[in-house]
Amino acid sequence: MLRTHASKLAATTAVGAMLMALAACGGDSGSSAATPAASGASSAAPEGAKVGLAYDIGGRGDQSFNDAAAAGLDKAKNELGLAEPKELEAGNGETGAQKEQRLRLLAQSGYNPVIAVGFAYSEAIKKVAAEFPDTKFAIVDDAAEGPNISNLVFAEHEGSFLVGAAAALKTKKDHIGFVGGVQVPLIKKFELGYTKGAQSVKPDIKIDVKYLSQPPDFGGFNDPAKGKTAAEGMFDSGADVVYQAAGGSGGGVFEAAKAANGLAIGVDSDQALTADESVRGVIFTSMLKKVDVAVFDFLKSFADNTVKAGATTYDLKAGGVDYSTTGGQVDDIKAKLDEYKQKIIDGEITVPAE
């Protein structure tokens, strides 16, 4: 789209002479090559904003973090009448330069606003946002600064505090567990909030903590078998409630909870609705991190021309984090949890983030 078709074909001829000869031999593959796939770029004039969205590893379909962002995008597309958005995905083990190039590709192809999902885009977005001052950028989970960067950050520790309290109220053995995906500062925020919440209900409660992998191995976010083993260990040693902040590995935690007749706490989305049907019964609540709301809000503000740069913190007060009540298993403790929630909102309880 940046060059004419003629030069594009010339370049192809030079480099791909071998391939061409081959395609001719291959019969039908030659004819299908007649239409270069550049049609998408010159699509019909957009009605609304052309949103470009760059996912972290996993992309759309991870049933967790990236999917939440995708849900926000889908909602905005339907309600705000956006043009066809473009979604790109990160590859495993890529360099910062490749992340940067992905954002640049979106910006220079005319996508505006551009949303980066995940803190890994921190450095990349700073550089690219400076190159495209007229494009609006947003980044989830990171505080990278720039005059045209909006930061969508969450108070995961506050939401985790509530489910920690819920776990302590539900446990019969005064023994609970936490399974983290990867041992990074972000997930430690979940752990810390959970621990504080549980201890505020029962100061002497026993809490098992296990991380599935250490950086730079981010496999812990996508390894249900590991999640299952870790949770089984906790249930075997006497825990009866386990909270998972392990992305795609969470499914294994739920299976272990089911096998051990224990309880589990979901994360990010309301997992009593999104997890595999067979295990939904053990998920008595989930810590909601409303990335979808944040993405939608940002896109709405773009549509209304009221985008503000800098951080928007989605905490308990703003309704950006919360606990879920699906299934009615927290009805008996809901009053207590709401009391804690109010105290955090009013500032009577401050949950440390680190």
Partner: protein, 379 residues
């Protein structure tokens, strides 16, 4: 004239004349065919896809990115190739470079030195850490006979755990302000390796480390083809018994080449560290060591072949994003890379077999026209 599959796989048996040309051509044709079939099956036009890749890949900024990433890949593949020459499979390049980059980054961030010295210290630390880490596998092999394949894979896992332990705010890391990322203290400008504006039409700079990579490639060639040490290494790799008979200390050679491979592996993270990120953080690129194995196979352990392989691999990696933008799944690039490696291996093996068969036919023809061989000599 007999050779094992491993010999042929690792490029230790040379092809002469037209055959040397036939193998890569066959590989390209085969790779193109398989990739085209996959593209047609998934409903994307093969030529259009290639045009997109080439068009995007030939933009100035993308060219810079391709060269930069290829620099990293090249060093990684050289590290692997050094082991291959000795019949050592150093699967541990990945762990070696990650640990080396982490510790070198921490040292670089903590020191204040004048410019050239600062860079030199960082690079030497990386080389030392890489070599030391690899020497563990070498020592295990020469003292206890542990296969380096097993020990280096395990050392990768240990390097990951050890690195994670080091990269916490209690030890080597500092929090990146306002971010969920953590990394080592950034290396000050005196320790940063300056880049060049090599490609017109873009402000992006080519890593200065590309020079080091070229020097390494030349050194690799000279070492293996022009020195006694290189001869001993190749001899040991081809036949340990013969090497021992001619007075080579095989254990020493194993240990030295393992350390050498690890020392070069220590450099793998340097282009990225000293040319772009200046800090080892949670998002430092991983898996470069494994890419190096594929590229070393692709380049058949030849320094020029590896360079071509590294550039090709980097081109595919860096151009793939454009496919996503146009609605073609970019995973097709991974299929292409895998196909290319397989094609090269298969094509060379086919050509070798063809040559062997042709030679046997020629010999039997000559024998049958010459005087009948004495009995029992036909074994």
């Amino acid at each position: 004239m007999s050779s094992t599959f491993a010999d042929r796989l690792l490029g230790r048996v040379r092809l002469g004349g037209l055959l040397a040309l036939a193998a890569p051509l066959l590989a390209i044709v085969f790779a193109a065919l398989v990739t085209s079939i996959v593209l047609v099956l998934t409903g994307s036009p093969p030529l259009g896809t290639l045009a997109l890749l080439v068009d995007y890949g030939s933009q100035p900024r993308t060219i810079v990115m391709i060269v930069n990433l290829a620099t990293t890949y090249y060093i990684s593949a050289l590290a692997v190739a050094i082991g291959f020459r000795m019949n050592l499979f150093n699967i541990g390049v990945d762990g070696q470079y990650r640990l080396a980059a982490l510790i070198a980054a921490a040292v670089g961030g903590a020191l204040v030195l004048p410019a050239p010295l600062h860079i030199l210290v960082i690079v030497l630390v990386a080389v030392a850490v890489g070599g030391l880490w690899a020497s563990l596998a070498g020592l295990l092999k020469v003292t206890r006979g542990v296969s380096e394949v097993i020990s280096t894979i395990m050392l990768n896992a240990i390097a990951t755990g050890f690195g994670a332990w080091l990269l916490t705010t209690d030890r080597l890391a500092v929090a990146v302000s306002g971010s969920n990322n953590i990394g080592t203290k950034p290396i000050p400008p005196s320790g940063q390796f300056p880049g060049f504006s090599l490609v017109p039409g873009t402000q992006a700079k080519v890593f200065g480390f590309v020079v080091i990579a070229v020097v390494l490639g030349v050194a690799y060639h000279v070492l293996f083809n022009r020195t006694r040490f290189g001869f001993d290494m190749r001899a040991t790799g081809q036949s340990e018994a013969a090497a021992v008979a001619s007075g080579v200390n095989v254990k020493k050679m194993v240990l030295v080449s393992m350390i050498l491979s690890g020392a070069v592996a220590g450099l793998v993270g340097m282009p990225q560290l000293l040319g772009a990120s200046y800090s080892y953080s949670l998002d430092f690129p991983t898996g470069l060591g494994f890419t190096g194995i594929a590229i070393a196979l692709l380049g058949r352990n030849n320094p020029v072949g590896i360079a071509i392989g590294a550039l090709l691999w980097s081109f595919l990696d860096n151009s793939s994003d454009i496919l996503d933008l146009e609605g073609i799944p970019k995973e097709i690039v991974i299929i292409m890379q895998g196909t290319i490696v397989l094609s090269v291996i298969i094509a060379y093996e086919l050509v070798h077999r063809y040559r062997l068969a042709a030679e046997q036919r020629r010999v039997s023809r000559e024998l049958s026209t010459a005087a009948p061989a004495p009995e029992g000599a036909g074994v």
